[in-house]
């Protein structure tokens, strides 16, 4: 199983990357009939998503899936397996299929009974291979990006942190 690269401390996704990832997700959804798809990293952060409808709480879903996947890797380790490559949850209305992309990212597909599980699995595997090539490139390029623009954002963010995380908090709920 590919290992996490400690030298890459960040990943920078630019517009062209986003367009390629989105095109891949859209094709997957059109071919499989899925209603939602997203690519998340191992921390559960959403790199890109496509949906037929507005779906709230996908940030929470991303966190749950990433941690569930990480958990299954520990199960695999205990069983002396190389790793489990997929996750599958089946509900009454919808199903979630998750396929690993190079062991570093996760492709998540949500679909209902209109779509066949087997078809989704095959298409997700195919999309995973396409995404792997795109994300490999993004990752390689991220190590080379050392933009003053991000340093500027970093400096300004520190001021925001001081403002927002004051000692007494700043709740508007009181």
């Amino acid at each position: 199983m590919p290992q996490f690269d400690p030298e890459i401390s960040r990943m920078v996704v630019v517009e062209e990357d986003q367009a390629q990832i989105s095109a891949c997700l859209q094709r997957l959804m059109a071919d499989s009939g899925a209603s939602y798809s997203m690519v998340i990293d191992r921390a559960g952060q959403i790199l890109a998503s496509e949906s037929d409808e507005v779906r709230p709480e996908m940030v929470h879903l991303g966190a749950l899936i990433a941690n569930t996947y990480a958990s299954t890797q520990e199960m695999a380790r205990i069983l002396k397996e190389d790793g489990f490559k997929t996750l599958f949850q089946e509900g009454m209305k919808e199903k979630i299929f998750t396929e690993t992309v190079r062991g570093r990212w996760l492709l998540v597909v949500i679909f209902d009974k209109q779509s066949q599980v087997g078809m989704v699995k095959v298409l997700a595997r195919r999309s995973s291979a396409v995404l792997a090539n795109i994300l490999d490139l993004v990752e390689r390029r991220s190590t080379e990006v050392n933009s003053p623009r991000f340093r500027q954002v970093g400096k300004a963010t520190i001021d925001t942190i001081d403002l927002l995380f004051k000692d007494d908090g700043c709740s508007d709920d009181e």
Binding site: F4, R10, R42
Partner: protein, 191 residues
């Protein structure tokens, strides 16, 4: 790893609260959730046992708003502290950009703190991180209790790596935001 999405103009970072069982990791997140403006925070998600101990993790997304056109988001997690859940802690630690080590300042919890800290160092090293360079802050929690060890003693035993450390009483909110500020800045400085 920090994610900078130029297309969506978003920057994400993951911060994990680590430490022995009942040291106050969840209490930190609950206090933060109760004090920051509602437009800044998402729902606090907790996956607990029947006895309300953390089983998997707590999760709190925080949105710092727009900075130079970028939306800054931090995802705060806790790990389950109980010894049994060691492999779950490995899973939650995956991809973290920074860690807050929440130590229980009580005299009788010193061995638990040391064991948890050793485990954290091992887990980060196993993930290919250099522990000594890693964004890490410590929080000495429960300093309001009579059995709390004095700060110099905690410094000597727990903070041998000499990272920023903060005295706290998370249940009253003392030191909670100070700690959050420090780790957030360390994470942002790594951008």
């Amino acid at each position: 790893m920090a994610l900078i999405n130029v297309a969506a103009r978003e920057i994400h970072g993951k911060i994990v609260y680590y430490g022995p069982g009942l040291s106050g990791k969840t209490t930190n997140l609950q206090y933060i959730h109760s004090r920051i403006p509602s437009n800044t925070k998402g729902e606090l998600l907790s996956i607990e046992t029947e006895t309300e101990r953390t089983l998997f993790f707590d999760f709190l997304p925080i949105d710092l708003g727009k900075v130079h056109g970028f939306t800054i988001r931090f995802h705060l997690y806790t790990v389950p502290g109980q010894v049994l859940y060691e492999r779950t802690r490995v899973a939650v630690l995956n991809g973290a950009d920074g860690v807050v080590f929440v130590a229980d300042a009580s005299r009788d919890r010193l061995p638990d703190n040391l064991q948890s800290l050793r485990e954290l160092a091992q887990n980060l090293t196993a993930q290919g991180k250099r522990f000594l360079d890693y964004p890490l802050v410590m929080q000495y929690n429960k300093m309001d209790l009579p059995q709390a060890l004095p700060t110099p003693v905690l410094d000597r035993y727990i903070n041998t790596v000499k990272v920023p450390r903060f005295e706290a009483s998370a249940i009253n909110g003392k030191g909670v935001f100070e700690t959050l500020r420090a780790i957030s800045k360390l994470v942002v400085n790594k951008l």
